[in-house]
């Protein structure tokens, strides 16, 4: 007997909400874990996913995708490709795995939260697949780098990073805890699959897979492609949820999107901004981070928010201004504080690389050149100690990143300071301050590394004590893999101007 086609029966399995008789709706769906909106309960029945899939289809497709990715890995594992790809590319891998692999597991829990507490059965059903996706991503992104640990101990941070108090991992957790690990189902649905995945990572993963293919890292390319196809499917949860919210509670929808788009942007600037503008080998760079943002992210995001009826986030001017700054400021910070990360920050400051930066960012030389010139001079004078930190940067009480990105209104770094319950809180930007102040109780207890340092949690209170606190042994901490040799190519007599 022929099986029914999916479209002949799917609707029967899609809508399986029922009226509870022995418990109240509120008991089944407590607001603390579901979230609160002005959307009437019955309106959630309109929740409709555009990408329909059955469990049988899901398992079939995922099995094939796993087979493909693991086959590539198996075929290439003896080739030791990463040895040949250089420190810049390996930094991208280490940063990616360390900041994301374990957090994909957390995303699996967040999707599972929607699978139980989503307010419509179609939403819950789709989130089951999303949860399985994220578990798979966690597994793969721990398994793939594992074989690299014997070549380079920093790859151990694929698993280790999120179990430490290292500052980049603290910043990543601060964002992702807020976005999905420690929030309700509605916030997850808008923050993770929409603001983060639809807004940033879905397209970023396409670009990253292409870049990996371009540099010859077929393993990573196949892994990222395999993940991206999952992301593009489960990211639909965001838009489907927004479609319902926009009819009844646009204000709430806009607020979650604004908040999470900003936090995602901050992290994206670290991960993708630096990778594209400084770590990616020059000969393989297809576009700058700014060009990528403009062509892939901003354009697409604008179309997307327009199609669902949202407005541009209120901080759009600052966001656009930062396109010229975020990667450069954060690269300067990570290079200077290089012992505090789990990769080997290359300077990315060879003469040709610097020319490329000036072509892509016409104001780069004026804004960032002088810092690098001073560093170059110190290397040339043998004053390596002056290229390293003796204190900490002040960190933002919202995004946990160094306060280093200039303000669009003044063109300068502006430290925004408030006192909350007797404690000073510093912010890197108006949006970060806005996020904190709209719900200070949620964020006030989240101590930055500087807060912990001042509270006596870091002993001894020195840079070595801090590295120990962040679980960075001398074999794991970052360093310039060229030891500043790149600086010696500059002409000492020409004031370093190229």
């Amino acid at each position: 007997m022929p099986k029914l086609k999916r479209e002949d029966w799917y609707h029967i399995a899609q809508k399986v909400n029922w009226t509870f008789s022995y418990v109240s709706h509120e008991e089944v769906f407590p607001k603390e874990i579901v979230g609160e909106t002005q959307v009437p309960i019955e309106a959630w029945e309109e929740w409709d996913e555009p990408y329909k899939m059955t469990y049988r289809e899901y398992v079939d497709i995922q099995r094939d995708k796993d087979g493909g990715a693991y086959a590539v890995k198996s075929a290439l594992s003896k080739a030791k490709i990463t040895n040949k790809l250089g420190d810049g590319w390996n930094n991208i891998l280490k940063m990616h795995y360390g900041a994301l692999a374990v957090l994909e597991w957390h995303a699996g829990i967040a999707e599972a939260r929607m699978a139980r507490f989503g307010l419509d059965s179609a939403w819950r059903n789709t989130a089951v697949f999303g949860s399985l996706d994220e578990v798979r991503h966690g597994q793969m992104q721990l398994y793939f780098p594992h074989e690299l640990v014997r070549e380079d101990i920093q790859f151990d941070w694929a698993h280790k990073a999120m179990h430490t108090e290292e500052w980049v991992s603290v910043a990543a957790r601060a964002t992702f805890d807020d976005m999905f690990s420690a929030t309700n189902a509605i916030d997850v649905a808008v923050g993770l699959p929409y603001a983060f995945e639809t807004g940033f990572t879905n397209l970023q993963f396409l670009g990253m897979a292409a870049d990996a293919m371009n540099v010859g890292d077929y393993n990573f390319s196949s892994l990222i492609s395999s993940i991206q196809t999952d992301e593009s499917r489960h990211a639909q949860i965001g838009e489907a949820t927004l479609q319902v919210m926009m009819k009844h509670d646009k204000e709430k929808a806009q607020e979650i999107v604004d908040r999470m788009f900003w936090k995602a942007w901050r992290l994206f600037g670290v991960m993708t901004g630096i990778s594209m503008d400084y770590y990616s080998p020059l000969k393989h760079r297809s576009m700058s981070f700014k060009e990528f943002m403009d062509e892939w992210i901003i354009n697409q995001f604008m179309q997307n928010i327009e199609s669902v009826g949202l407005d541009k986030p209120w901080f759009w001017d600052q966001f656009m201004y930062e396109q010229d700054h975020i990667s450069h400021s954060l690269q300067m910070g990570i290079y200077f504080w290089r012992p505090t990360v789990w990769w080997k920050p290359v300077a990315g400051m060879g003469i040709e690389e610097r020319q490329w930066l000036s072509e892509k960012y016409p104001d780069w030389e004026e804004n960032y050149g002088p810092y690098w010139d001073t560093i170059i001079q110190n290397y040339q004078n043998g004053a390596v100690e002056k290229t390293l930190p003796e204190t900490l940067p002040v960190l933002c009480s919202c995004c946990n990143l160094p306060i280093c990105i200039p303000d669009a209104k003044t063109g300068k770094v502006e430290v925004k300071t408030i006192t909350y319950e007797g404690q000073k809180k510093h912010f890197c930007s108006d949006p970060c301050q806005w996020i904190f102040e709209r719900n200070p109780q949620r964020y006030a207890g989240q101590k930055t590394i500087v807060d912990r340092f001042l509270a006596g949690e870091v002993q001894p209170p020195t840079v070595p004590g801090l590295l120990n606190y962040m679980s960075l042994s001398e074999h794991e901490m970052g360093y310039d893999p060229e030891n500043g040799a790149w600086a010696l190519q500059y002409n000492k007599d020409k004031n370093l101007v190229i």
Binding site: S329, M332, G333, F336, Y368, P370, Y371, D373, T374, I375, N378, K386, T387, P389, E390, T391, L392, P393, V394, P402, I403, C404, K412, V413, V415, T417, K424, H426, V450, F453, L454
Partner: protein, 81 residues
């Protein structure tokens, strides 16, 4: 001792530094400049000045006289020519 947040004007990042209650603002400026000047900001043969909430204070005033509290933010810059 008081920990402060400081930005040396022209540098790219705000930094943590520590001053004594009896330090003058000139000493405060030197302590912050130590972490910026000749590391990322080019050295100049000019004195520093300290701004608190946008206002320039005389360099011989002491920290305890201007009422700086832990993690207040200050800006240090080269004095205009």
């Amino acid at each position: 001792m008081i920990p402060l947040s400081g930005l040396f004007e022209g540098d790219f990042v705000a930094q943590l530094f520590v001053v004594g209650q009896e330090d003058t603002l000139n000493q405060l400026a030197e302590k912050l400049a130590y972490h910026s000047v000749d590391r990322r900001v080019a050295k100049q043969d000019r004195p520093f000045e300290v701004l608190i909430k946008g206002e320039v204070f005389p360099g011989d005033v002491k920290v305890n006289e201007v009422g700086l509290a832990p993690m207040d933010h200050v800006v240090v810059r080269y004095a205009p020519l």
